[in-house]
Symmetry: C2
Subunit: 663 residues, 2 copies
């Protein structure tokens, strides 16, 4: 049951498909405060949700802020990441309460940080609150997901393995990466083009020095079943003679400063303008620009820097340079020196800058900070709506760094710029169910970590988890250690792990599609499956993938196994050395399970089956019909296997589900 309560006059976000009638606040189960809501949480209540954010699956014990932020150094102390996903699920004994705070401005969630039993939401004066009551966590999520509409569905090839780096600097380097994989028998479906494929970081251009044969490269790669996926940035370079800039400037499509001049920010190319993604006309115009690349054979994109990230604003930078002078010649002590350093560091993503430019949204001039969390969403929508016009029958891969609920209908997300940390592998795991609750199904993290230096074992362990995530991409930043699978000595381990992915594709794709079409979770915390098992509810490092299997990845260096909680009987299946081994059957309870580096372990639930294909070197080579069914127990439920062509948009549970039965 969904109830909507309105506070003030919220700005439209189009997060929700049908708002439904407004309810009387008498019915509100939370306490209204001057600028938000409060709720007293019982001791044993778990708080799920918030999509892309740090810390636990259970969000209790921290302050989170929904305020899309570019923070590549995020850690336990971080409050905001790249997305803003204002959905909470309060899960207590006999009570499941979903809350969605719908506003495009900043929202703060103090979930037992100030006081353990107090939930305090600060959302300002204007927001819609949706309250969803249900009998189970899964049911509340399903109602919420139906409210916000069907999640984005990518082409099937986008479930293959992708390799990325900031940046492969030439056509030949791209070819080299593909060769590296093919020669060592490492499956691969896509290679990513980071910012250097462009001419001086200008959107919708190609650097004709390093990528002279771009069109040739695209078609050559297609023949090798490799999709090239270029990046698109939010900022448009200010440059005379650059058509995108000139058109945008002429048509008034850029965000304006208070005086109505184009607002100038520094991003990748230096001085840029932001297309006003909230303006319908500007959005249609920007979206059509993707055609430049579609016409070259490109069928996948990632939208970056669309929080939007601001290295600096022209005005602030000027002020900072002036202020820096004041410190010169002074005796800088602990106070003034830290001020000096903060001044330079504070140039980027400064809140004041976000209060200094304006959108034309639905005919109204609106200051950016009031709609901040919509920017990446509407940028990505701009592309997605254009694809709908330009390629109505074809699925195009599209995912974004920034997002808000509602964007899940238009694209996936990657989990932003992360680090080569073991704790970020664990964070990747914890984010999966949280994102699923908020509608984001096509998602994954930068495997091996974006910033920092990865070790071989970190990449292997991370991949051994990543092979379960719909988006499976290895990505690393400039200046860090190269982490392509073929560069490390233990190729056979990488081969085994990636092969596991391609063997599991039938199940993973089927589970993804059912989750999208039925508004269910693909990745579930154990508490969703066993809501009355108090131990299961506490487990933060195991997940269900679909209904049939549980995973318990190793995320500690030098560990050759780990303890696993079995909420019921399960059988271990181990991808090992290119083959599949059936392992022990574990009874309900805790057990230590050996999981050597390079093995991929899944646990099949008692009475369930797991269909596996034979694998392949790319998705098109996988035979989705030639399946072997692995089972646990004797009385095995049949499996609803969803399989469509993976290319067109003719999704249908009725047409494409068939029943698989174990012998």
């Amino acid at each position: 049951m969904v109830k909507r309560f309105r506070f003030g006059a919220p700005i439209e976000t189009e997060a929700v498909l049908e708002k439904g009638a407004q309810q009387d606040k008498q019915q509100l189960s939370l306490v209204q405060t001057a600028d938000g809501l409060e709720y007293e949480m019982p001791d044993d209540m778990i708080v799920y949700g918030l999509g892309e954010n740090t810390r636990g699956i259970n969000k209790r014990g921290w302050i989170y802020v929904s305020n899309c932020t570019d923070n590549p150094h995020h850690n336990e102390g971080t409050r905001s990441l790249y997305g803003a996903h204002n959905f909470l699920l309060l899960s207590g004994e006999g009570q499941q309460l979903g809350l969605f705070i719908d506003t495009p401005a900043k929202v703060t969630f103090d979930i037992g940080y100030s006081r353990y039993n107090l939930l305090r939401i600060t959302a300002g004066q204007d927001y819609d609150l949706y309250v969803i009551e249900g009998s189970t966590p899964a049911q509340v999520v399903q109602e919420f997901r139906q409210l916000i509409g069907r999640s984005y569905i990518p082409p099937k090839w986008a479930f293959g393995y992708g390799q990325s780096r900031w940046s492969y600097l030439s056509s030949d380097e791209v070819r080299e990466v593909v060769r590296g994989h093919r020669e060592k028998g490492l499956p691969l479906d896509s290679v990513y083009l980071d910012i250097d494929y462009m001419e001086r970081y200008k959107d919708f251009t190609v650097d004709r020095e390093q990528f002279a044969d771009f069109e040739q490269l695209v078609s050559e790669m297609k023949q090798e079943h490799i999709h090239l996926v270029p990046i698109i940035d939010a900022g448009v370079k200010v440059e005379e003679g650059y058509d995108v800039y000139e058109e945008g400037e002429k048509e008034g499509y850029f965000c304006k400063d208070e005086e109505g001049n184009d607002f100038i920010v520094g991003v990748w190319p230096g001085r840029c303008c932001f297309p006003d993604m909230l303006n319908d006309k500007a959005r249609a115009w920007f979206g059509n620009k993707y055609k430049v690349l579609l016409d070259k054979g490109i069928d996948g994109f990632w939208n970056d820097m669309n929080e939007p990230a601001v290295f600096y604003s022209e005005k602030r930078l000027k002020k900072v340079f002036e202020k820096l002078q004041d410190y010169q010649g002074q005796n800088l002590d602990v106070n003034t020196f830290f001020e000096f350093q903060a001044l330079a560091a504070g140039v980027s993503n400064n809140e004041e800058d976000y209060r200094s430019f304006y959108h034309n949204y639905r005919g109204e001039k609106i200051r950016h900070d009031k709609v901040h969390n919509l920017f990446g969403y509407y940028m990505t929508r701009s592309a997605s709506e254009a694809f709908e016009r330009l390629e109505p029958e074809k699925r195009i891969l599209m995912y974004s760094r920034s997002s808000y609920i509602g964007m899940h209908r238009y694209a996936g997300i990657w989990q932003g710029d992360n680090l080569s940390w073991w704790s970020h592998l664990l964070m990747n795991l914890k984010m999966m169910p949280s994102l699923n609750m908020c509608g984001f199904l096509y998602t994954g993290a930068d495997i091996g970590g974006f910033g920092g230096d990865a070790t071989e074992d970190l990449v292997i362990r991370w991949l051994s988890f990543g092979v379960f995530t719909p988006l499976l991409r290895n990505h690393a930043a400039r200046g860090t250690r190269q982490q392509e699978a073929y560069r490390f000595p233990r190729t056979n381990l990488f081969q085994n792990v990636l092969t596991a992915r391609y063997c599991m594709l039938p199940y993973l794709y089927s589970e993804f599609m059912k989750a999208a079409l039925r508004s269910t979770m693909m990745f579930s915390p154990l508490g969703f499956v066993y809501p009355s098992d108090q131990t299961a509810r506490q487990v933060e490092d195991q997940l269900f993938v679909g209904e049939n299997i549980m995973i318990a990845p190793v995320y500690e260096q030098n560990a050759s196994g780990r303890t696993v909680y079995f909420p019921e009987t399960m059988k271990l299946l181990r991808f090992h050395d290119g083959g599949v081994l059936e392992g022990s059957v574990y009874e309900k309870g805790w057990a230590y399970v050996e999981m050597p580096l390079g093995d991929v372990c899944v646990f099949i639930r008692d009475g369930y089956l797991l269909p596996l294909a034979k694998g392949g070197s790319h998705v098109a080579e996988v035979d989705f019909e030639d399946l072997r069914l692995y089972t646990c127990g004797s009385d095995v439920k049949s499996y609803e296997y969803y399989m469509d062509d993976g290319e067109t948009k003719d999704y249908s549970l009725d047409k494409y589900i068939r029943i698989l039965k174990a012998e």
Copy 2:
């Protein structure tokens, strides 16, 4: 068996007591390279050691750098912390090899980062290598510890609970903190004075505005059994009329630049000079300055910023201000903008600055970077040697932020400026045995975390581990959430945890003293106790404290228990609600153990006992004679109980050990 190999002409560190004869390199079991050593590690070899550093107890799979560094934001990607502890213990099947690289300059340890089986040590041309072979890890450590000499022993009161913050700003605020504890029945033995007790951050001065009655405060606190522990910084403020500066300047006791002028760096007070701690005369002079505070009744100190941390050098700051101009008015793109930000950020702790000043060490002019890792060691030694002269009979509390092996004879260390992160609680645990191997017994971390905001549960969980560490101090930085125990609502949980500490003091002090006097480990990884148990060897989050008990702290938010590996039968003892409960007996293997927030859990080994006192509100109130003996099993070994007066230096195993026997 210790063998010494000499390479080049190393600079003396005085880490080792007696060097022993030089060995022929024919006998070397490592491969000598152009600038260091290599060793091929078998798959199952564990590499222990490196004292204060990040990541695992097993150091395999990362690059570590011994280069004392002030890094309050350290994380998994960090390579250097505040100390430099060049001892490794390679522990394989049937082989235990200790390595100590003795050089005061930077050393790099690539322990399977570049290639999993390769250990590569880069130490330059000049170093002594000590190789210690033994039959067990514990035996190798003991030989090494005998080589480097007896560890520092603090007064017994320093095993009490200490409360700190940057900073308590006045005498009255100090009184308030003590009252806060006493009124709520929270034991306390010391309150720390961070930099603001000084007059404008000048060492050995007192701010007479906020601490007008300093001497009165000290004596008043003593009567309440509270010791005040002031901070001392490495930099001496450049200020005419300030006696310490004027004397140092006149006598030539400060570090010089290339031209022989005093080298000017920016630290807390702004422009400072570094006393040349390596110069015998300067060191004696600086040490004598502590008398100013000893005379006021102070009997404990912490030495800070002695890596030495450098906010800036005067020369660099000037250059940076000039360079910053170049960026003004430019179009700053992704390359130039990051350069601009790095310029400001790179002012601090810049390697070039460390190559720009000089010491007078044993009569020779030596560039700082060649002896960098000795600075904190020799600063602390300066104090300790002065205490020996000024107060020969009395134990004075002294610990340092920076250190090198050898300094362990003069003082303890705290584990540097950390963060209010759950992962830093775990890191605290992992560092304990690593530091013990290197001689540092009196150590602990900033409980609750220095930087960042702590939650109540983090402070409780961290204290629940911290009560086992010799140094037990809650400390937090300016601008962060106040985290004194009495400020949180669940006082009873804090009370219970701190009471556990005071009940365990007889055992903890006794184990500490035996570890110091016998050169053994107080905190052991499970692999030290059960070297042939392959599971025990992998456990990274449990420790032995002394010989008799094992601990397995909870370090995850919202967890009410955890899985524990029992390498043999053990009995749970639980401090709960002010009392002691005897819990289940666990057999060898894995088990999940409930450990609710606020309980302190210890596991008594089969056949061993744990003596507990009744507690007290400060150390002097604890009755070390009125003990209750808790046991596990029926055939219980007697216990060697060490107890001396805790004040004088008349340490003696013979005199002060007596045997406790269970009924």
